[in-house]
């Protein structure tokens, strides 16, 4: 997939600004704060939005898509709903049953095939949304905030499903939850205010915060100066410690950065 100078404006507001990127087969994470342009970019890729400038190649053969918010037809059963999506995705009738069972199994909803959508919980509907995106094993799958409303076990299951697809096509996951992308994504793109800030592997992103993460005791807080961001407060052996990100030298000891540290440094331009 190749995105070239992709620009999307809504009146005077620029949601995505001259963004270029290219992806090979694998799992790609789109990370960014709220309003960074992640959803707009996904909508441009799947054809909901028309680009103002630029082009997107590689999604012409149809995509699997899970939007941030979506509704299902409450009067239908899980199987009927999946059958409907299978028909929309033009999966041949004779192959639909096996394909539906495969996808429903992946999201752990096999025992709910005959249940009405109206009886499902929010998390189950989310899983059904993931299952419909997987139907037909499309070359490109776009997940927008896929783990919202999922319990920890189902989050792990989702990560495993994504990991299974690693060599089968492009899977794009948009989220602002760093943990969701850290474990499964081969490449991570960080977006902020419509711009691509940086991209790389989770290790490369973490290294953006190298030498900028400090651990100091709470009584040293008053000595902090310049630009800094208190990321965490932890209690250890009865003493409170602060985990601080800063581009300036600070009191306390420097520690090994995590990907979340790297992400925050990229967003805050440290």
């Amino acid at each position: 997939m190749k995105i070239t100078q992709c620009t999307k404006r809504f009146h005077k507001r620029i949601a995505v600004d001259r963004l270029s990127a290219s992806f090979d087969t694998g799992v790609i994470g789109l990370l960014g704060p709220n309003g960074a342009g992640k959803t707009t970019l996904l909508r441009c890729i799947c054809g909901i939005y028309k680009l103002n400038e630029g082009s997107i190649e590689g999604a012409e053969n149809g995509v699997g898509y899970l939007p941030q918010q979506f509704g299902m037809f409450r009067a239908l059963s899980v199987y009927q709903m999946m059958e409907y999506f299978a028909s929309l995705k033009k999966i041949p009738k004779h192959a639909q049953k096996d394909e539906i069972e495969r996808c429903v199994e992946l999201v752990h909803l096999s025992d709910r095939l005959s249940a009405r959508i109206s009886t499902l919980s929010g998390g189950m509907i989310r899983r059904l949304g993931i299952a419909q995106a997987l139907l037909g094993n499309p070359e490109v799958i776009l997940f927008d905030e896929p783990t919202v409303g999922l319990d920890p076990e189902e989050r792990i299951r989702f990560k495993n499903v994504v990991a299974l697809r690693r060599h089968q096509g492009i899977t794009l996951i948009s989220t602002h939850i760093v943990n969701d992308v850290e474990a499964v994504c081969d490449t991570i793109l960080i977006l902020n205010e419509g711009h691509l800030v940086t991209s790389g592997t989770s290790h490369q992103i973490a290294q953006l915060a190298y030498g900028k993460v400090y651990m100091l005791s709470e009584d040293q807080e008053s000595n902090l100066h310049g630009l800094f961001f208190v990321k965490d407060r932890v209690e250890e052996d009865g003493t409170s410690y602060l985990r601080v990100l800063s581009p300036d030298a600070q009191p306390g000891k420097q520690i090994e950065p995590t990907m979340e540290d790297g992400y925050l440094c990229a967003i805050k331009n440290y």
Partner: protein, 217 residues
């Protein structure tokens, strides 16, 4: 190839009707309960067959064209508004086949009603083309408005208001913008002027609606 395409569209069509739940049966209530009951009432209280035919003909105009918007609006509204529209729009690029399938399905129901009345009172097929044209005008306008406004309320209320207008103001200059006919169709000439123009415009409306549906933001 065309046959396969039709089969694919039919496989989407069935769940689309099913997802409406109980409201799917509202046109059935009008077509197969209300209209026949009114017809039986006319037969019981009127002696003159021609006046019964006239009353039934007016009921046809009152209920059949308006009910043609029901499945179009409630079957297709998920593609244009609400939580599911974003997802459905990714997978569905045109609503034109769905519109024609829904409309065809509705007309099939109307044919059954006409068959019933043909058996009871005879001499109704002359009006059939008029009712189909009026139904297409209602359904096409509702579909077009649905795609343009992307909300169910505007086409529904718009068509309801037009229905009330058509029932109450079929006289003077207002008759020119009223689809309802005061007299039954006794020959082709009754239909051609002015309904051939209405039919032609009504055929264009679904295409216009689909153009707006396909238009991306």
């Amino acid at each position: 190839m065309c046959h396969q395409k039709l089969l694919k569209e039919l496989s989407i069509f069935r769940p689309m009707l099913r997802k409406m739940g109980a409201i799917y049966f509202v046109p059935h209530l009008f077509l197969y309960v209300l209209i026949p009951l009114l017809g039986i009432g006319y037969m019981l209280y009127h002696q003159d067959v021609e006046s019964i035919r006239g009353l039934v003909f007016y009921d046809f105009q009152k209920f059949i064209p308006f009910m043609s918007i029901w499945w179009v609006l409630f079957g297709l509204n998920d593609y244009v508004e609400g939580d599911s529209s974003e997802l459905l729009r990714v997978y569905k690029h045109s609503l034109l086949p769905d519109f024609w399938l829904i409309f065809g399905w509705y007309i099939l129901h109307v044919v059954i009603l006409f068959l019933i009345f043909e058996l009871l009172l005879a001499n109704y097929w002359g009006d059939f083309l008029l009712i189909v044209t009026q139904s297409l005008a209602f359904a096409g306008s509702a579909f077009c408005l649905l795609c343009v406004t992307r909300t169910l309320m505007v086409p529904f209320l718009g068509m309801l208001l037009y229905e009330i207008f058509a029932m109450l103001s079929n006289f003077g200059a207002l008759a020119y913008v009223n689809l309802f006919s005061l007299q039954r169709m006794r020959g082709v000439s009754d239909f051609i002027i002015p309904y051939s123009i209405v039919l032609a415009v009504s055929c264009i409306l679904p295409f216009l609606g689909d153009f707006f549906f396909q238009k991306r933001k």
